[in-house]
Symmetry: C2
Subunit: 185 residues, 2 copies
């Protein structure tokens, strides 16, 4: 029998960590650099999402290797695992899954604490910026590696005056397969 | 009497943290982005150093606020504090100070463990890349905020086949001042 999945706290304690402020400021430096190099805010949003996607396709391996999570029964269980274990393991925070549609293929993940945005204020010139697109990209990338093609968009953003961070995760296509990942991945 | 400076381990335990792999991959995404956007590797090196400098000027506040380190007597003590407390607080690793010159104004900081470079391999096209220039920039920026103007360069780099990471920190100018920082900073 495989070992039981770890708790979020145990998972977070089991990984190497670095100072959150260093991460936050480093991420801020990326965003600033992209704003300087690319002319359109919309292009910056795309680039952050793509960076996140690439990171997500790598992080999923560490997640599966350390969490003892094997395959999730369905998209609902997957969303719960992301919110309760994934966010804890990588950012040290937990998230809530809510607002399921009737088909069980769209839900919201709500974050109250978001280490990406500490000390961040958006200037007026950046109103269209999706500052946290790296995060939504990570989720999209990670899910694609376990055969779930998704769209992930931001519904609420505290940097834009909302009361929380809420991303909408919509399952577009699920490729069924016997083994969601190989042991030697 | 002010509280005694904390140990590196206590300091690291006292700060918010995120997963080191997420940080490593995020940093890798920056470097890749800069390599795509800027044509010259030398420009990428400069940009990474400048980003690090900006981050260092911010991180020094968190360091002074949390470490209970007040002012360092001289550059030697400062280098020790960076190696033993600074690296621990931000990256969770410790470093060694060595190879002092006779004037006591240049030393090496040697890292055996460097979370910035996990999983990184430099392609042949990037041979001139100073991948860790963010780190040396952070130190330069942080020291400038406590009135020490320095030059920080890499002498050894494991990504280039050396057996450790060694940066040379050279004090260029020290501006004496009664209060290196204010309580309300």
């Amino acid at each position: 029998m495989p070992p039981a999945p770890k708790s979020g706290d145990a998972l977070f304690a089991s990984v190497d960590r670095v100072n959150a402020e260093l991460f936050t400021l480093t991420y801020g430096a990326i965003v600033r650099q992209l704003l300087t190099d690319l002319e359109e805010v919309e292009e910056v949003n795309k680039q952050l999402d793509q960076m996140g996607y690439n990171i997500g396709t790598r992080l999923v391996d560490e997640f599966l290797a350390k969490s003892n999570v094997s395959r999730c029964v369905d998209f609902k269980e997957t969303a719960d695992v992301i919110a309760k274990l994934g966010f804890k393991m990588f950012l040290g925070v937990t998230a809530t899954v809510t607002n399921w549609d009737v088909e069980g293929t769209s839900c919201s993940i709500v974050l109250e604490d978001n280490p990406l945005v500490d000390f961040v204020e958006l200037p007026d010139t950046c109103q269209g910026l999706q500052y946290c697109n790296l995060l939504s990209g990570v989720i999209r990338g990670a899910l694609e590696m376990v055969s779930m093609k998704t769209e992930v968009t931001w519904l609420r953003d505290m940097l834009r005056g909302d009361d929380a961070y809420e991303m909408r995760v919509k399952l577009i296509k699920q490729v069924p397969e016997e083994y969601p990942y190989k042991d030697d991945d």
